[in-house]
Protein backbone atom coordinates (compact mmCIF):
# COMPACT_ATOMS: atom_id res chain seq x y z
CA UNK A 1 0.00 0.00 0.00
CA UNK A 2 1.34 3.43 -0.90
CA UNK A 3 1.50 6.14 1.70
CA UNK A 4 1.04 9.23 -0.36
CA UNK A 5 -0.63 12.56 -0.04
CA UNK A 6 -0.71 13.89 -3.55
CA UNK A 7 -0.51 10.78 -5.72
CA UNK A 8 -3.38 9.91 -8.03
CA UNK A 9 -5.81 7.49 -6.43
CA UNK A 10 -6.11 3.90 -7.52
CA UNK A 11 -9.36 3.61 -9.47
CA UNK A 12 -11.51 0.52 -9.01
CA UNK A 13 -14.52 0.22 -11.29
CA UNK A 14 -17.16 -2.04 -9.77
CA UNK A 15 -20.53 -3.22 -11.07
CA UNK A 16 -23.01 -3.72 -8.23
CA UNK A 17 -24.37 -6.91 -9.81
CA UNK A 18 -20.89 -8.41 -9.35
CA UNK A 19 -21.70 -8.61 -5.62
CA UNK A 20 -23.81 -11.68 -6.38
CA UNK A 21 -20.59 -13.37 -7.52
CA UNK A 22 -18.24 -12.02 -4.87
CA UNK A 23 -20.49 -12.58 -1.85
CA UNK A 24 -23.33 -14.88 -0.86
CA UNK A 25 -26.63 -13.61 -2.22
CA UNK A 26 -28.10 -14.27 1.24
CA UNK A 27 -26.42 -11.09 2.45
CA UNK A 28 -26.48 -9.05 -0.71
CA UNK A 29 -30.12 -9.45 -1.66
CA UNK A 30 -31.55 -7.04 0.93
CA UNK A 31 -28.84 -4.43 0.54
CA UNK A 32 -29.16 -3.76 -3.20
CA UNK A 33 -32.36 -1.70 -3.20
CA UNK A 34 -31.09 0.51 -0.34
CA UNK A 35 -27.86 1.18 -2.28
CA UNK A 36 -29.89 2.11 -5.35
CA UNK A 37 -32.07 4.40 -3.25
CA UNK A 38 -29.40 6.00 -1.08
CA UNK A 39 -26.32 6.46 -3.26
CA UNK A 40 -27.71 8.63 -6.10
CA UNK A 41 -29.26 11.15 -3.68
CA UNK A 42 -31.91 13.61 -4.80
CA UNK A 43 -29.87 15.89 -7.03
CA UNK A 44 -30.32 14.88 -10.71
CA UNK A 45 -26.87 16.31 -11.53
CA UNK A 46 -25.30 13.84 -9.10
CA UNK A 47 -27.45 10.92 -10.10
CA UNK A 48 -25.45 9.82 -13.11
CA UNK A 49 -23.32 6.71 -13.15
CA UNK A 50 -20.66 5.95 -12.21
CA UNK A 51 -21.09 6.94 -8.57
CA UNK A 52 -17.60 7.85 -7.49
CA UNK A 53 -16.57 7.24 -3.89
CA UNK A 54 -13.30 8.70 -2.65
CA UNK A 55 -12.09 6.08 -0.19
CA UNK A 56 -9.36 6.57 2.41
CA UNK A 57 -8.01 3.07 2.86
CA UNK A 58 -5.97 2.79 6.06
CA UNK A 59 -3.92 -0.31 6.91
CA UNK A 60 -1.59 0.12 9.88
CA UNK A 61 0.53 3.22 9.17
CA UNK A 62 -0.26 3.19 5.45
CA UNK A 63 -2.96 5.28 3.85
CA UNK A 64 -4.00 4.63 0.29
CA UNK A 65 -6.38 6.83 -1.68
CA UNK A 66 -8.76 4.72 -3.68
CA UNK A 67 -11.60 5.71 -5.96
CA UNK A 68 -14.41 3.21 -6.29
CA UNK A 69 -16.48 3.90 -9.41
CA UNK A 70 -19.75 2.17 -8.66
CA UNK A 71 -22.23 1.48 -11.41
CA UNK A 72 -25.07 -0.91 -11.98
CA UNK A 73 -27.15 -2.45 -14.70
CA UNK A 74 -30.80 -2.40 -13.68
CA UNK A 75 -31.66 -5.28 -16.02
CA UNK A 76 -28.97 -7.48 -14.47
CA UNK A 77 -30.02 -6.49 -10.96
CA UNK A 78 -33.66 -7.25 -11.75
CA UNK A 79 -32.62 -10.73 -12.81
CA UNK A 80 -30.92 -11.28 -9.47
CA UNK A 81 -33.58 -9.55 -7.35
CA UNK A 82 -36.92 -9.28 -9.15
CA UNK A 83 -38.63 -5.98 -8.33
CA UNK A 84 -35.49 -4.35 -6.96
CA UNK A 85 -35.78 -1.18 -9.05
CA UNK A 86 -39.35 -0.57 -7.91
CA UNK A 87 -38.31 -1.37 -4.35
CA UNK A 88 -35.55 1.25 -4.58
CA UNK A 89 -38.06 3.80 -5.90
CA UNK A 90 -40.32 3.09 -2.90
CA UNK A 91 -37.41 3.53 -0.54
CA UNK A 92 -36.50 6.85 -2.21
CA UNK A 93 -40.02 8.25 -2.30
CA UNK A 94 -42.04 6.42 0.36
CA UNK A 95 -43.45 8.54 3.14
CA UNK A 96 -43.19 5.77 5.73
CA UNK A 97 -39.53 5.01 4.96
CA UNK A 98 -37.25 4.92 7.99
CA UNK A 99 -34.15 6.82 6.84
CA UNK A 100 -31.94 5.49 9.61
CA UNK A 101 -32.52 1.88 8.55
CA UNK A 102 -32.10 2.84 4.90
CA UNK A 103 -28.68 4.41 5.55
CA UNK A 104 -27.57 1.37 7.55
CA UNK A 105 -28.60 -1.06 4.84
CA UNK A 106 -26.93 1.02 2.16
CA UNK A 107 -23.75 1.14 4.24
CA UNK A 108 -23.86 -2.65 4.48
CA UNK A 109 -24.17 -2.87 0.71
CA UNK A 110 -21.27 -0.48 0.15
CA UNK A 111 -19.20 -2.38 2.68
CA UNK A 112 -19.83 -5.58 0.72
CA UNK A 113 -18.43 -3.70 -2.30
CA UNK A 114 -15.41 -2.57 -0.29
CA UNK A 115 -14.77 -6.07 1.06
CA UNK A 116 -15.00 -7.49 -2.46
CA UNK A 117 -12.61 -4.90 -3.92
CA UNK A 118 -10.19 -4.08 -1.10
CA UNK A 119 -10.11 -7.49 0.59
CA UNK A 120 -10.43 -9.80 -2.40
CA UNK A 121 -11.36 -13.36 -1.52
CA UNK A 122 -12.96 -12.47 1.83
CA UNK A 123 -16.50 -13.77 2.16
CA UNK A 124 -19.12 -12.54 4.58
CA UNK A 125 -20.40 -15.37 6.78
CA UNK A 126 -22.63 -13.58 9.27
CA UNK A 127 -24.29 -10.30 10.17
CA UNK A 128 -24.96 -9.11 13.70
CA UNK A 129 -26.72 -5.91 14.63
CA UNK A 130 -26.85 -5.58 18.40
CA UNK A 131 -23.13 -5.05 18.71
CA UNK A 132 -20.05 -4.36 16.65
CA UNK A 133 -18.79 -5.55 14.27
CA UNK A 134 -21.84 -5.75 12.01
CA UNK A 135 -20.30 -7.95 9.32
CA UNK A 136 -18.32 -11.06 10.15
CA UNK A 137 -15.91 -13.29 8.22
CA UNK A 138 -15.04 -15.65 11.05
CA UNK A 139 -17.29 -16.65 13.96
CA UNK A 140 -14.73 -18.45 16.11
CA UNK A 141 -15.91 -17.73 19.67
CA UNK A 142 -13.56 -15.30 21.35
CA UNK A 143 -11.65 -14.57 18.11
CA UNK A 144 -14.13 -12.90 15.77
CA UNK A 145 -13.06 -11.30 12.49
CA UNK A 146 -15.20 -8.68 10.82
CA UNK A 147 -16.07 -5.17 9.74
CA UNK A 148 -18.00 -2.47 11.58
CA UNK A 149 -20.01 -0.17 9.32
CA UNK A 150 -21.85 3.14 9.45
CA UNK A 151 -23.55 5.37 6.90
CA UNK A 152 -24.11 9.11 7.01
CA UNK A 153 -26.27 10.95 4.51
CA UNK A 154 -24.21 14.15 4.68
CA UNK A 155 -21.22 15.73 6.34
CA UNK A 156 -18.38 14.10 4.42
CA UNK A 157 -15.13 13.04 6.04
CA UNK A 158 -15.72 15.22 9.10
CA UNK A 159 -18.95 13.36 9.88
CA UNK A 160 -17.21 10.01 9.38
CA UNK A 161 -14.33 11.08 11.61
CA UNK A 162 -16.81 11.80 14.40
CA UNK A 163 -18.22 8.30 14.01
CA UNK A 164 -14.72 6.87 14.18
CA UNK A 165 -13.19 9.07 16.89
CA UNK A 166 -16.25 10.06 18.91
CA UNK A 167 -16.89 13.33 20.72
CA UNK A 168 -16.19 14.44 24.28
CA UNK A 169 -19.66 13.13 25.13
CA UNK A 170 -19.59 9.91 23.14
CA UNK A 171 -16.90 7.32 22.63
CA UNK A 172 -16.03 6.59 19.00
CA UNK A 173 -16.22 3.25 17.21
CA UNK A 174 -12.43 2.93 17.01
CA UNK A 175 -11.93 3.05 20.78
CA UNK A 176 -14.88 0.72 21.35
CA UNK A 177 -13.50 -1.87 18.96
CA UNK A 178 -9.94 -1.62 20.28
CA UNK A 179 -11.24 -2.31 23.80
CA UNK A 180 -12.69 -5.64 22.73
CA UNK A 181 -10.66 -8.69 23.74
CA UNK A 182 -12.82 -11.03 21.67
CA UNK A 183 -11.88 -9.58 18.27
CA UNK A 184 -8.96 -11.11 16.38
CA UNK A 185 -9.39 -8.83 13.37
CA UNK A 186 -11.60 -5.81 12.83
CA UNK A 187 -12.01 -3.07 10.23
CA UNK A 188 -14.06 0.11 10.10
CA UNK A 189 -16.11 0.86 6.99
CA UNK A 190 -17.71 4.32 7.02
CA UNK A 191 -19.68 5.84 4.15
CA UNK A 192 -21.14 9.23 3.35
CA UNK A 193 -23.64 9.77 0.51
CA UNK A 194 -23.07 13.52 0.01
CA UNK A 195 -20.26 14.06 -0.67
CA UNK A 196 -19.44 10.48 -1.64
CA UNK A 197 -16.53 9.66 0.61
CA UNK A 198 -15.52 6.68 2.68
CA UNK A 199 -13.04 5.57 5.31
CA UNK A 200 -11.90 1.93 5.29
CA UNK A 201 -9.57 1.33 8.20
CA UNK A 202 -8.02 -1.81 9.64
CA UNK A 203 -7.99 -1.53 13.43
CA UNK A 204 -6.84 -5.03 14.42
CA UNK A 205 -4.44 -6.80 14.22
Amino acid sequence: MSRVAGAAPRVIPYALEQLFVDQSSDWVIDAVAPVLAWVPGVSPAKSRQPFRFEVEHVEGQGVEKVRIDLRWDEVALEQAVPGVVDHARRLREGRSVQREHLAELAAYGLTFVAISTLMPGRRVTHMQMGMAPDILFDLTPGALRGVETAGRSAGGRAALAVVRDGTPAKIGKRAQLLARADLAEVHLSLWCAAPRVSIMERLKP
Partner: protein, 342 residues
Protein backbone atom coordinates in the same frame (compact mmCIF):
# COMPACT_ATOMS: atom_id res chain seq x y z
CA UNK B 1 -14.90 -27.16 19.62
CA UNK B 2 -15.38 -30.01 17.16
CA UNK B 3 -15.85 -29.23 13.48
CA UNK B 4 -19.43 -30.52 13.52
CA UNK B 5 -20.39 -28.42 16.54
CA UNK B 6 -18.81 -25.38 14.98
CA UNK B 7 -20.67 -26.02 11.73
CA UNK B 8 -24.01 -26.23 13.55
CA UNK B 9 -23.17 -23.06 15.47
CA UNK B 10 -22.23 -21.18 12.30
CA UNK B 11 -25.21 -22.50 10.38
CA UNK B 12 -27.62 -21.29 13.06
CA UNK B 13 -25.94 -17.92 13.34
CA UNK B 14 -25.95 -17.44 9.58
CA UNK B 15 -29.63 -18.29 9.47
CA UNK B 16 -30.33 -15.80 12.25
CA UNK B 17 -28.25 -13.16 10.44
CA UNK B 18 -30.20 -13.60 7.20
CA UNK B 19 -33.48 -13.10 9.05
CA UNK B 20 -32.14 -9.93 10.65
CA UNK B 21 -31.10 -8.52 7.27
CA UNK B 22 -34.54 -9.27 5.83
CA UNK B 23 -36.18 -7.72 8.89
CA UNK B 24 -34.10 -4.56 8.62
CA UNK B 25 -35.12 -4.21 4.98
CA UNK B 26 -38.78 -4.48 6.03
CA UNK B 27 -38.28 -2.00 8.87
CA UNK B 28 -36.80 0.45 6.38
CA UNK B 29 -40.06 0.42 4.40
CA UNK B 30 -41.88 1.38 7.58
CA UNK B 31 -45.52 0.45 6.84
CA UNK B 32 -47.43 -1.30 9.67
CA UNK B 33 -47.69 -4.60 7.78
CA UNK B 34 -44.01 -4.64 6.96
CA UNK B 35 -43.03 -3.65 10.47
CA UNK B 36 -45.11 -6.53 11.84
CA UNK B 37 -43.46 -8.95 9.40
CA UNK B 38 -40.08 -7.62 10.54
CA UNK B 39 -41.08 -8.23 14.17
CA UNK B 40 -41.93 -11.86 13.36
CA UNK B 41 -38.59 -12.37 11.60
CA UNK B 42 -36.69 -10.79 14.47
CA UNK B 43 -38.41 -13.09 16.97
CA UNK B 44 -37.38 -16.03 14.78
CA UNK B 45 -33.84 -14.66 14.63
CA UNK B 46 -33.68 -14.38 18.42
CA UNK B 47 -34.86 -17.95 18.82
CA UNK B 48 -32.24 -19.25 16.37
CA UNK B 49 -29.55 -17.14 18.03
CA UNK B 50 -30.29 -18.90 21.31
CA UNK B 51 -30.25 -22.30 19.62
CA UNK B 52 -26.84 -21.51 18.16
CA UNK B 53 -25.32 -20.90 21.59
CA UNK B 54 -27.07 -23.92 23.07
CA UNK B 55 -25.28 -26.04 20.46
CA UNK B 56 -21.93 -25.10 22.00
CA UNK B 57 -20.83 -27.66 24.60
CA UNK B 58 -18.80 -25.04 26.44
CA UNK B 59 -19.78 -21.48 25.64
CA UNK B 60 -17.11 -18.87 26.50
CA UNK B 61 -18.58 -16.12 28.74
CA UNK B 62 -17.90 -13.44 26.14
CA UNK B 63 -19.73 -15.46 23.47
CA UNK B 64 -22.71 -15.94 25.76
CA UNK B 65 -22.82 -12.22 26.55
CA UNK B 66 -22.54 -11.32 22.86
CA UNK B 67 -25.30 -13.73 21.96
CA UNK B 68 -27.63 -12.31 24.61
CA UNK B 69 -26.90 -8.80 23.36
CA UNK B 70 -27.89 -9.89 19.88
CA UNK B 71 -31.01 -11.61 21.18
CA UNK B 72 -32.00 -8.55 23.19
CA UNK B 73 -31.43 -6.36 20.13
CA UNK B 74 -33.79 -8.61 18.16
CA UNK B 75 -36.52 -8.02 20.74
CA UNK B 76 -35.87 -4.28 20.91
CA UNK B 77 -35.97 -3.90 17.12
CA UNK B 78 -38.76 -6.48 17.06
CA UNK B 79 -40.78 -4.15 19.34
CA UNK B 80 -41.30 -6.64 22.16
CA UNK B 81 -40.58 -4.91 25.47
CA UNK B 82 -41.41 -7.91 27.65
CA UNK B 83 -39.08 -10.34 25.90
CA UNK B 84 -36.42 -7.64 25.66
CA UNK B 85 -36.64 -7.11 29.42
CA UNK B 86 -36.40 -10.84 30.13
CA UNK B 87 -33.32 -11.10 27.95
CA UNK B 88 -31.82 -7.99 29.52
CA UNK B 89 -31.93 -9.76 32.87
CA UNK B 90 -30.01 -12.74 31.49
CA UNK B 91 -27.55 -10.38 29.88
CA UNK B 92 -26.80 -8.63 33.17
CA UNK B 93 -26.02 -12.00 34.73
CA UNK B 94 -23.76 -13.02 31.81
CA UNK B 95 -21.90 -9.70 32.04
CA UNK B 96 -20.51 -10.63 35.44
CA UNK B 97 -18.28 -13.30 33.89
CA UNK B 98 -16.68 -10.97 31.32
CA UNK B 99 -13.91 -8.45 31.94
CA UNK B 100 -15.30 -4.96 32.46
CA UNK B 101 -13.70 -3.23 29.45
CA UNK B 102 -14.81 -5.89 26.97
CA UNK B 103 -18.30 -6.07 28.49
CA UNK B 104 -18.68 -2.30 28.31
CA UNK B 105 -17.63 -2.27 24.67
CA UNK B 106 -19.96 -5.15 23.79
CA UNK B 107 -22.87 -3.43 25.56
CA UNK B 108 -22.20 0.03 24.18
CA UNK B 109 -24.77 -0.18 21.39
CA UNK B 110 -27.55 -2.08 23.14
CA UNK B 111 -27.51 -0.26 26.49
CA UNK B 112 -28.84 3.14 25.34
CA UNK B 113 -31.22 1.44 22.88
CA UNK B 114 -32.68 -0.80 25.56
CA UNK B 115 -32.99 2.04 28.06
CA UNK B 116 -34.80 4.30 25.58
CA UNK B 117 -37.05 1.40 24.61
CA UNK B 118 -37.80 0.54 28.23
CA UNK B 119 -38.69 4.14 29.01
CA UNK B 120 -40.96 4.35 25.98
CA UNK B 121 -42.80 1.25 27.16
CA UNK B 122 -43.00 2.46 30.76
CA UNK B 123 -44.52 5.77 29.63
CA UNK B 124 -47.13 3.99 27.55
CA UNK B 125 -47.78 1.53 30.38
CA UNK B 126 -48.40 4.40 32.77
CA UNK B 127 -50.90 5.83 30.30
CA UNK B 128 -52.77 2.51 30.04
CA UNK B 129 -54.44 1.95 33.45
CA UNK B 130 -57.19 -0.30 32.11
CA UNK B 131 -54.72 -2.69 30.51
CA UNK B 132 -52.69 -2.79 33.68
CA UNK B 133 -55.79 -3.67 35.65
CA UNK B 134 -56.64 -6.43 33.18
CA UNK B 135 -53.13 -7.87 33.39
CA UNK B 136 -53.30 -7.85 37.18
CA UNK B 137 -56.74 -9.51 37.14
CA UNK B 138 -55.38 -12.38 35.06
CA UNK B 139 -56.73 -14.20 32.02
CA UNK B 140 -60.05 -15.07 33.67
CA UNK B 141 -60.99 -11.41 34.14
CA UNK B 142 -64.29 -10.40 32.65
CA UNK B 143 -64.11 -6.62 32.16
CA UNK B 144 -67.22 -4.51 31.85
CA UNK B 145 -68.28 -3.12 28.49
CA UNK B 146 -66.97 0.34 29.43
CA UNK B 147 -63.65 -1.16 30.54
CA UNK B 148 -63.39 -3.05 27.26
CA UNK B 149 -63.88 0.16 25.28
CA UNK B 150 -61.11 1.83 27.27
CA UNK B 151 -58.91 -1.24 27.00
CA UNK B 152 -59.32 -1.32 23.21
CA UNK B 153 -58.23 2.30 22.93
CA UNK B 154 -55.19 1.65 25.09
CA UNK B 155 -54.35 -1.56 23.25
CA UNK B 156 -54.51 0.19 19.93
CA UNK B 157 -51.89 2.69 21.12
CA UNK B 158 -49.70 -0.05 22.61
CA UNK B 159 -49.82 -2.28 19.54
CA UNK B 160 -49.04 0.67 17.25
CA UNK B 161 -45.80 1.18 19.18
CA UNK B 162 -45.10 -2.43 20.17
CA UNK B 163 -46.48 -4.70 17.46
CA UNK B 164 -43.97 -7.40 18.39
CA UNK B 165 -45.42 -7.99 21.86
CA UNK B 166 -47.28 -11.30 21.72
CA UNK B 167 -49.05 -10.72 25.03
CA UNK B 168 -50.81 -7.62 23.73
CA UNK B 169 -52.05 -9.42 20.63
CA UNK B 170 -53.35 -12.09 22.99
CA UNK B 171 -55.17 -9.41 25.00
CA UNK B 172 -56.72 -8.08 21.80
CA UNK B 173 -57.77 -11.63 20.97
CA UNK B 174 -59.46 -11.97 24.35
CA UNK B 175 -61.33 -8.69 23.97
CA UNK B 176 -62.49 -9.60 20.47
CA UNK B 177 -63.47 -13.10 21.60
CA UNK B 178 -65.49 -11.70 24.51
CA UNK B 179 -67.29 -9.37 22.11
CA UNK B 180 -67.92 -12.17 19.61
CA UNK B 181 -65.81 -10.48 16.93
CA UNK B 182 -64.61 -13.67 15.28
CA UNK B 183 -62.47 -12.30 12.47
CA UNK B 184 -60.62 -9.88 14.75
CA UNK B 185 -60.16 -12.60 17.36
CA UNK B 186 -58.70 -14.99 14.79
CA UNK B 187 -56.43 -12.32 13.33
CA UNK B 188 -55.12 -11.28 16.76
CA UNK B 189 -54.51 -14.87 17.88
CA UNK B 190 -52.79 -15.63 14.57
CA UNK B 191 -50.45 -12.67 15.07
CA UNK B 192 -49.67 -13.82 18.60
CA UNK B 193 -48.87 -17.27 17.20
CA UNK B 194 -46.61 -15.85 14.50
CA UNK B 195 -44.60 -14.08 17.17
CA UNK B 196 -44.41 -17.20 19.34
CA UNK B 197 -44.62 -20.21 17.01
CA UNK B 198 -43.17 -22.50 19.67
CA UNK B 199 -45.87 -21.58 22.19
CA UNK B 200 -47.83 -24.84 22.46
CA UNK B 201 -50.64 -23.19 24.41
CA UNK B 202 -51.37 -20.76 21.57
CA UNK B 203 -51.11 -23.55 19.00
CA UNK B 204 -53.59 -25.60 21.01
CA UNK B 205 -56.00 -22.70 21.51
CA UNK B 206 -55.95 -21.93 17.81
CA UNK B 207 -57.69 -25.27 17.17
CA UNK B 208 -60.80 -24.46 19.19
CA UNK B 209 -60.75 -20.83 18.09
CA UNK B 210 -60.57 -21.95 14.44
CA UNK B 211 -63.77 -23.99 14.70
CA UNK B 212 -65.46 -21.08 16.45
CA UNK B 213 -64.20 -18.24 14.26
CA UNK B 214 -63.66 -19.67 10.78
CA UNK B 215 -65.96 -21.16 8.15
CA UNK B 216 -65.99 -24.97 8.39
CA UNK B 217 -63.75 -25.52 5.34
CA UNK B 218 -61.11 -23.11 6.63
CA UNK B 219 -61.30 -24.62 10.11
CA UNK B 220 -60.84 -28.10 8.66
CA UNK B 221 -57.81 -26.85 6.75
CA UNK B 222 -56.34 -25.54 9.99
CA UNK B 223 -56.98 -28.82 11.78
CA UNK B 224 -55.53 -30.78 8.86
CA UNK B 225 -52.27 -28.86 9.28
CA UNK B 226 -52.00 -30.10 12.87
CA UNK B 227 -53.33 -33.63 12.35
CA UNK B 228 -50.02 -35.02 11.15
CA UNK B 229 -48.16 -33.68 14.18
CA UNK B 230 -50.34 -35.25 16.89
CA UNK B 231 -48.04 -38.22 17.41
CA UNK B 232 -45.48 -35.83 18.93
CA UNK B 233 -47.72 -32.99 20.13
CA UNK B 234 -48.05 -31.99 23.76
CA UNK B 235 -51.14 -33.14 25.66
CA UNK B 236 -52.85 -29.77 25.44
CA UNK B 237 -52.70 -29.75 21.64
CA UNK B 238 -54.16 -33.29 21.60
CA UNK B 239 -56.97 -32.22 23.94
CA UNK B 240 -58.00 -29.14 22.01
CA UNK B 241 -57.63 -30.93 18.69
CA UNK B 242 -60.07 -33.57 19.98
CA UNK B 243 -62.55 -30.89 21.07
CA UNK B 244 -62.22 -29.10 17.72
CA UNK B 245 -62.99 -32.34 15.86
CA UNK B 246 -66.07 -32.86 18.05
CA UNK B 247 -67.29 -29.36 17.19
CA UNK B 248 -66.76 -29.90 13.46
CA UNK B 249 -68.54 -33.25 13.69
CA UNK B 250 -71.74 -31.53 14.79
CA UNK B 251 -72.60 -30.26 11.33
CA UNK B 252 -71.07 -33.19 9.46
CA UNK B 253 -72.85 -36.01 7.62
CA UNK B 254 -73.07 -39.36 9.45
CA UNK B 255 -69.97 -40.94 7.88
CA UNK B 256 -67.80 -37.87 8.38
CA UNK B 257 -69.12 -37.49 11.90
CA UNK B 258 -67.95 -40.98 12.83
CA UNK B 259 -64.55 -40.29 11.29
CA UNK B 260 -64.15 -37.06 13.29
CA UNK B 261 -65.19 -38.70 16.55
CA UNK B 262 -62.71 -41.48 15.91
CA UNK B 263 -59.93 -38.95 15.29
CA UNK B 264 -60.94 -37.13 18.47
CA UNK B 265 -60.85 -40.38 20.43
CA UNK B 266 -57.33 -41.17 19.19
CA UNK B 267 -56.11 -37.66 19.98
CA UNK B 268 -57.56 -37.76 23.49
CA UNK B 269 -55.92 -41.12 24.06
CA UNK B 270 -52.54 -39.81 22.86
CA UNK B 271 -52.92 -36.73 25.03
CA UNK B 272 -53.77 -38.72 28.13
CA UNK B 273 -50.51 -40.65 27.80
CA UNK B 274 -48.58 -37.35 27.82
CA UNK B 275 -50.64 -35.30 30.28
CA UNK B 276 -48.53 -34.02 33.13
CA UNK B 277 -51.07 -32.11 35.21
CA UNK B 278 -54.22 -33.19 37.02
CA UNK B 279 -56.24 -30.57 35.19
CA UNK B 280 -55.14 -31.76 31.77
CA UNK B 281 -55.83 -35.37 32.71
CA UNK B 282 -59.31 -34.39 33.93
CA UNK B 283 -60.08 -32.51 30.72
CA UNK B 284 -58.86 -35.39 28.57
CA UNK B 285 -60.82 -37.86 30.65
CA UNK B 286 -63.93 -35.71 30.22
CA UNK B 287 -63.34 -35.67 26.46
CA UNK B 288 -63.04 -39.45 26.42
CA UNK B 289 -66.28 -39.88 28.39
CA UNK B 290 -67.98 -37.37 26.14
CA UNK B 291 -66.88 -39.29 23.04
CA UNK B 292 -68.04 -42.57 24.55
CA UNK B 293 -71.51 -41.05 24.84
CA UNK B 294 -71.45 -39.67 21.33
CA UNK B 295 -70.24 -42.94 19.82
CA UNK B 296 -73.01 -44.75 21.72
CA UNK B 297 -75.55 -42.42 20.16
CA UNK B 298 -76.34 -40.60 23.41
CA UNK B 299 -76.25 -36.85 24.07
CA UNK B 300 -73.47 -36.21 26.62
CA UNK B 301 -74.50 -34.33 29.76
CA UNK B 302 -72.64 -32.39 32.43
CA UNK B 303 -72.31 -35.68 34.26
CA UNK B 304 -69.14 -36.41 32.29
CA UNK B 305 -67.51 -33.41 33.97
CA UNK B 306 -68.33 -34.64 37.46
CA UNK B 307 -67.11 -38.12 36.61
CA UNK B 308 -63.79 -36.82 35.29
CA UNK B 309 -62.91 -34.60 38.24
CA UNK B 310 -64.18 -31.29 36.85
CA UNK B 311 -67.04 -31.09 39.31
CA UNK B 312 -66.08 -27.66 40.68
CA UNK B 313 -66.23 -26.08 37.23
CA UNK B 314 -69.43 -27.96 36.37
CA UNK B 315 -71.12 -26.80 39.58
CA UNK B 316 -70.96 -23.19 38.39
CA UNK B 317 -72.74 -24.01 35.11
CA UNK B 318 -76.41 -24.54 34.41
CA UNK B 319 -77.21 -28.27 34.69
CA UNK B 320 -78.51 -28.37 31.11
CA UNK B 321 -75.50 -26.54 29.59
CA UNK B 322 -74.02 -28.12 26.50
CA UNK B 323 -70.91 -29.91 27.67
CA UNK B 324 -69.02 -29.48 24.36
CA UNK B 325 -69.71 -25.75 24.35
CA UNK B 326 -68.66 -25.57 27.97
CA UNK B 327 -65.32 -27.27 27.35
CA UNK B 328 -64.48 -25.38 24.15
CA UNK B 329 -65.43 -21.96 25.56
CA UNK B 330 -63.21 -22.63 28.57
CA UNK B 331 -60.37 -23.50 26.23
CA UNK B 332 -60.71 -20.22 24.37
CA UNK B 333 -60.02 -18.34 27.60
CA UNK B 334 -56.68 -19.90 28.52
CA UNK B 335 -53.72 -17.66 29.19
CA UNK B 336 -50.88 -17.74 26.65
CA UNK B 337 -48.55 -19.31 29.20
CA UNK B 338 -48.71 -23.06 29.71
CA UNK B 339 -49.82 -23.99 33.19
CA UNK B 340 -51.91 -20.85 33.72
CA UNK B 341 -55.43 -22.02 33.16
CA UNK B 342 -58.32 -19.61 33.17
Amino acid sequence: MTAVVHDVYEMNLASSGRLKMRAKALLAEGTPDEVFRACVLLHDAARIQRLAVQALPACPPVTLLSSLVEECWCFVEGRDPLRAAETWGLLLLAREAVDAATAEAILSRITPRFEAFRQEFARLGAASPTLRAMVEAGPASDPSRAARVRARKELSAVLARFPGAMNFWWMLYRLAETEGNKSEAWDALSRARQLAPDNARLAAMSLVVAVWALPAAAAEQHLAGVRGTLDRAVAEVCLLYALAEIVLARAAAREEQALRWERAREAAEAGLARADTTELRSNLKATQLLLRELLAGREPTMEVLYRSGLGKAAALEKPDANVVDFLTARSRHLSPELGHAA
